[in-house]
């Protein structure tokens, strides 16, 4: 390993550590947006939730949180369906989304941990 590559690796690890620290709050933010959407029927909260979930899909994979990324992608797909329907989600969809959010909390605890998808 050259010193340049070594320096890059150190900086990449620092960014990954920072991401690990921030990940739980990103998921809490998703959860709050979801609650706002359900309780207040606020479509902007759904837009925000969808955007944040999309970003989590991408960033999770880039930072090695592959399970987080996979769960976020499934959540994103379900949210797109709900957004396109322009209706409030039924109880079954609500349950699925809450399970996905719980699975995200679990997967965020360890990038290498394998979490069973709901």
């Amino acid at each position: 390993m050259t010193s340049d590559t070594g320096t890059l690796q150190i900086r990449l690890q620092a960014l990954q550590h920072q991401y690990s620290q921030e990940l739980p709050s990103k998921i809490q933010q998703l959860e709050k947006a979801w609650q706002r959407f359900i309780e207040q029927r606020d479509r902007r909260a759904l837009d925000s939730l969808l955007n944040d979930t999309h970003n989590l899909t991408g960033s999770g994979a880039v930072y090695g949180y592959h399970q987080t990324s996979k769960i976020a992608r499934k959540l994103e797909q379900l949210l797109v369906t709900i957004q396109e329907s322009q209706q409030q989600p039924g109880s079954s969809d609500q349950q699925h989304i809450e399970r996905y959010i719980q699975a995200l909390h679990l997967a965020a605890q360890n990038p290498a941990q394998s979490t069973t998808l709901p």
């Binding site: 340049d4 320096t7 890059l8 900086r11 990449l12 960014l15 991401y19 921030e22 837009d47 925000s48 955007n51 999309h54 970003n55 899909t57 991408g58 960033s59 999770g60 994979a61 880039v62 930072y63 990324s69 992608r73």
Partner: protein, 142 residues
């Protein structure tokens, strides 16, 4: 007797790739990609967090290539591209989209909008530079 024609492929290749305008709204992704593009790829990179920021600052940066995330809040990638095409100096700069919707139909749709390549997300930051260079040098000669 037929003449043998030698084609100098080096002359047909795209010009050297140096300056990248990179538009991505997720700070975590932008940070790691900018780092690898600069340190590993030795590119000069201007990172923008939104389409409107790219529109405001892109021309002064004089990029060789524009890398555009597709799904962004407010102004998405294709809308940003249309606006960038109206700016003198950016009207003909090659664009590569980056998207997680990497099915054949979506890729064809993005290329129809003028992208020279579509990079599938998620990607490995450590191989992204090679992917960009491969796509850059695969462009048809102008």
């Amino acid at each position: 007797m037929p003449q043998t024609v030698h084609i100098n492929h080096a002359q047909n290749r795209a010009p050297a790739l140096q300056r990248l305008l990179y538009v991505e709204d997720e700070p975590g992704i932008q940070e790691i990609i900018k780092l690898t593009l600069e340190e590993l790829g030795q590119f000069t990179v201007l990172g923008c967090s939104s389409g409107s920021e790219a529109i405001a600052t892109g021309a002064a940066f004089r990029p060789d290539l524009i890398l555009l995330d597709v799904m962004m809040p407010g102004m998405d990638g294709p809308t940003t591209l249309k606006a960038l095409r109206q700016i003198p100096g950016l009207a003909s700069i090659p664009v590569m989209f980056m998207t997680a919707k990497n099915n054949a139909r979506e890729i064809a749709n993005l290329k129809a909008q003028g992208a020279v390549a579509v990079i599938a997300k998620p990607f490995d930051p450590l191989t992204l530079c090679d992917e960009i260079r491969n796509a850059w040098y695969s462009q048809p000669a102008k």
